[in-house]
């Protein structure tokens, strides 16, 4: 600590230690905030299978399932002071009849829900970003963003299968999944089991349904 440079080095060295300790404490604080995410309802509103091409110049035609769904879920517990954003996605899953234990699984819709502390990082246009920031003005946490109520949502992704066949498959279920991305600490997924204060995602699976037969209409693609 004899000269200024040595004092800068020593102070910065201890600063990094303190910063690491605070970060560890913040990450640990997550385990003390209970999570009880629940899905009130997750159901399909319309399912159709159409034939289409994976891209414009493709000569191969594949079947695509277009699953519209409604979702009502309460994920507000996932928003704590350490939550940066929550990634929510819905998959359709169906068993492969002759494939043993194989399960087919494809994402049909997803969404990023930011915490007010991460609103400035969202990938939105300036106007909607301003609106988003304004919606949580003065709030460090906005639990209401975890309350999802989506009706008759069109899928973001029309799904198919490596064989190109999805029509008439039975035992399809929609499943809600989420990721909690914290500011510091590990990325956590939805759980099937209770872990400490974190409850498993309740009721996150829809009733099983069947993909219908192919519709004659082509899937509109540019």
């Amino acid at each position: 600590m004899y000269s200024s440079i040595v004092r800068i080095q020593n102070t910065f060295g201890f600063f990094t230690t303190v910063a690491f300790c605070i970060a560890a404490l913040i990450a640990a604080s997550d385990f003390f905030s209970p999570r009880a995410p629940t899905v009130n309802s997750l159901k399909t509103t319309s399912v159709q299978v159409v034939r289409g091409r994976p891209h414009y110049y493709s000569t191969k035609k594949e079947e695509y399932a277009i699953i519209k769904f409604s979702l009502d879920a309460d994920l507000s517990d996932l928003f704590t002071w350490n939550t940066k954003q929550v990634f929510v996605y819905v998959t359709a899953e169906w068993p492969e009849i002759n494939g043993g234990n194989t399960t087919n699984k494809a994402v049909i819709w997803d969404s990023i829900i930011t915490s007010p502390s991460a609103d400035h990082l969202t990938n939105l246009g300036p106007a909607s970003k301003k609106k988003l920031i304004k919606s949580a003005k003065g709030k460090s946490i906005d639990k209401s963003r975890g309350k999802l109520s989506i009706k008759n949502q069109r899928p973001k992704y029309q799904i198919t299968h490596p064989t190109g066949k999805v029509a008439s498959k039975d035992g399809v279920q929609l499943k809600l999944h989420y990721n909690v991305q914290p500011w510091v600490g590990p990325l956590t997924w939805n759980q099937d089991k209770h872990i400490g204060l974190w409850k498993a995602l309740k009721n996150g699976v829809s009733k099983s349904f069947k993909f219908p037969a192919v519709k004659a209409k082509d899937i509109p693609r540019a």
């Binding site: 200024s4 004092r7 020593n10 102070t11 201890f14 910063a19 300790c21 002071w81 460090s140 946490i141």
Partner: protein, 102 residues
């Protein structure tokens, strides 16, 4: 001109005495730990991670300001050197090197 440069150099180097070094280390350890504790506790109670970040960064900046420059309170116990050339009263009478008296 040389004197001015010397003073600038001295200021930049920021030398302090031994007691000052002890004090500086004590200030760094205690205040940075306190800043960290306050940042976490306030952030947790307010459930506001940005607040915690700003407290931690602001507090650390203040610690840097308090410790890095050679403030006068770090220089209150200067080392008293013997006079140059060894004055009349300094005698190397009992200096022993390698068991040989000089």
């Amino acid at each position: 001109m040389d004197q001015v440069l010397d003073r600038v150099r001295e200021g930049a180097e920021g030398q302090i005495d031994f007691e000052g070094q002890k004090l500086a280390e004590l200030i760094v350890n205690i205040s940075l730990s306190l800043v960290g504790a306050i940042a976490f506790i306030v952030g947790y109670l307010q459930q506001d991670i940005k607040l915690a970040l700003y407290i931690a960064l602001g507090g650390s900046a203040m610690v840097f300001v308090a410790v890095v420059p050679a403030w006068p309170f770090f220089k209150r116990n200067p080392v008293k050197w013997l006079p140059v050339g060894g004055g009349a009263q300094v005698q190397a009478a009992n200096l022993v090197v390698d068991e040989k008296a000089m």
